[in-house]
């Protein structure tokens, strides 16, 4: 069930009606949200609801045992291992089997492991990280032990973030479940986020995908350098608009249910350093990796070489988190290597306007280069793509038209608008009566729908 669909709208109508009827009954409201979240998840494949429930049970039990002080370290290790085992089985088993068989073939061995073709449960990477963050936070004493199973079920399954994030920490979300919030629901801000998110996904991301990125990445040898370069920019804008749109809508839907979500994007392509890019891109993942991987590995505390190693390991694993494939390993390695080199050079932040522009352009193009590996079908296609960037410049463009180029420019312009442009808009809308906000939102959604292509493509981050 995708957010920008009629099915989701009907689903949310039922949820909103239930929440309105249960206003003032906090436990009942949470129970309704758990049922709704499991229904939402079952819309993909109901079998995996058991996996989600099991993952929640592991986290809940581990939290209780750690809180009781029983062999804390052992419980922590076993619980994390169980989460990783589930993730490894469903997400990486096929990849590992294929890689092992290829290696055996290269070594001239006849032995071959059986290929099972495991179905990847939607959102498993996200709820696994939720579970691990809770257990580690309880162990560290950063969050109180969750003693209500209902709260744990909701923390792990809350439908706005269930399948594509943002990764909401236990220390951020569980306190919101402890007692009802008396803050009003930010209806105007939610409406602006929904409309902005829809525009980014339905218009910008979908047209860039169908009009340029998909055909060019599908057959890079059929195009010359200009198309390949524009397709790279198109994908950079597409993935940002696709993922940040999902996040915007998730934040808005959570807000309409009465909950707060953290910020996940902050105009990443305006970053002047790669480190800054990671402070602006998928913030909930980058801070997760920092706090649960980079810092426990030693962070920057044990000398330069160890810092570079830790950066590389963190980003390599961050790459693998995105998907089971060598192209994601390469993507992570490039980011890890880039961060290490940046630290090695100790580049100061540029002070002049020219310096800032050059830094931004360099960082953006480095990120674009990594996106080629991320998007290409495999390593070979990525290599052909990069090779093709330097050829066929005299042929001009075949695939990219003024419309797709305009969309790339609009997407990039969004990176350089005054920070949080939506705030004054939302503040102005706050003064408008709710019925009018509803009508404006409905008309806005209809207009965005008319502007977009027919049908809704799945969000890129669903496969992670």
């Amino acid at each position: 069930m995708l957010f920008p669909t009629f099915g989701f709208l009907l689903f949310f109508l039922v949820v909103a009606a239930a929440l309105a009827a249960l206003d003032g009954h906090f436990t009942a409201k949470k129970a309704v949200l758990v049922v709704a979240s499991y229904y939402f998840y079952a819309a993909w494949d109901w079998h995996f609801c058991f996996l989600l429930a099991f993952s929640s049970a592991v986290s809940f039990t581990a939290g209780l045992l750690i809180g009781a002080g029983t062999r804390k370290r052992l419980v922590l290790t076993v619980a994390i291992a169980m989460h990783l085992l589930l993730l490894g089985t469903f997400k990486y088993l096929d990849f590992l089997t294929l890689s092992a068989n290829r290696l055996a073939h290269l070594l001239g061995l006849n032995a071959e492991l059986p290929f099972i073709e495991v179905i990847l449960p939607v959102g498993i990477s996200f709820f696994t990280f939720h579970g691990i963050s809770y257990i580690v936070d309880v162990y560290r004493g950063d969050v109180a032990v969750c003693k209500r199973p209902l709260d744990m079920l909701l923390y792990m399954s809350f439908f706005p973030q269930l399948v594509a994030g943002p990764i909401v920490r236990a220390s951020y979300f569980l306190p919101q479940l402890a007692r009802p919030s008396d803050a009003p629901i930010p209806i105007a801000a939610a409406a602006v986020l929904i409309l902005g998110g829809l525009f980014k996904k339905v218009v910008i991301a979908n047209y860039l995908a169908t009009g340029l990125a998909d055909p060019v990445f599908g057959a890079p040898t059929s195009y010359g350098g200009p198309d390949l370069l524009l397709a790279t920019y198109a994908y950079a804008v597409q993935i940002y608009c696709d993922f940040s749109a999902y996040t915007d809508m998730a934040i808005a839907i959570a807000a309409l249910c009465g909950f707060r979500f953290p910020r996940n994007f902050d105009q990443p392509y305006r970053a002047q350093r790669l480190r800054e890019f990671w402070q602006r891109w998928h913030i909930s993942l980058s801070t997760w990796l920092r706090d649960y991987l980079y810092k426990p590995l030693g962070g920057n505390r044990y000398g330069r070489l160890n810092t570079y190693r830790n950066l590389l390991i963190t980003m390599l694993l961050g790459g693998i988190w995105h998907g089971a494939g060598w192209k994601f390993v390469m993507w992570g390695a490039m980011h890890g290597g880039g961060l290490a080199v940046e630290r090695m050079l100790i580049t100061p932040r540029p002070k002049t306007l020219a310096g800032k522009i050059v830094s931004t352009v360099v960082v953006f193009h480095f990120v674009c280069l990594t996106w080629i590996f991320f998007r290409a079908e495999d390593f070979t296609v990525a290599s052909l793509f990069i090779g093709g960037l330097f050829a066929g410049w005299s042929d001009g463009v075949q695939q990219a038209g003024p419309f797709t180029v305009a969309l790339i420019l609009i997407g990039m312009a969004g990176q350089f608008t005054p920070v949080r442009l939506f705030e004054p808009l939302a503040a102005r809308l706050e003064r408008v009566p709710v019925w009018r906000i509803g009508a404006l939102t409905g008309i806005g959604v209809a207009l965005v729908n008319a502007l977009g292509p027919e049908g809704v493509a799945p969000f890129i981050y669903f496969r992670f």
Partner: protein, 97 residues
């Protein structure tokens, strides 16, 4: 002894935009009115949206509704926008393709 819950990340919707707002009942009203407005102005796509539910009666109702909206002229903005975008997509670098 557990420390106070920490929140190392910033809220996506800042507190200053949470001072005024609504209640769950107003959220329901917003959703209902929004759905109605969507039904009025996006009726052209309603038949294809409802097809996915595989309920023939619902599909027929959506088609009838779309016909009624077209008779009222409410489908014109949708058709104009879609046609305009289709024309924009066709435009090549030398002007019209």
């Amino acid at each position: 002894m557990p420390r106070e819950p920490t929140s190392p990340v910033a809220d996506a919707i800042p507190p200053r935009l949470r001072r005024k707002g609504g209640t769950p009942r107003q959220v329901l009203a917003l959703t209902l009115i929004g759905t109605l407005a969507l039904g009025l102005f996006a009726s052209r796509d309603l038949p294809s949206w409802t097809e996915r539910f595989e309920i023939p009666a619902l599909s027929r109702l959506a088609a009838t509704w779309d016909g009624a909206m077209a008779a009222l002229g409410l489908t014109r903005p949708h058709e104009t926008l879609r046609a305009a975008v289709a024309r924009l997509i066709e435009v090549g670098w030398g002007g019209k393709d």
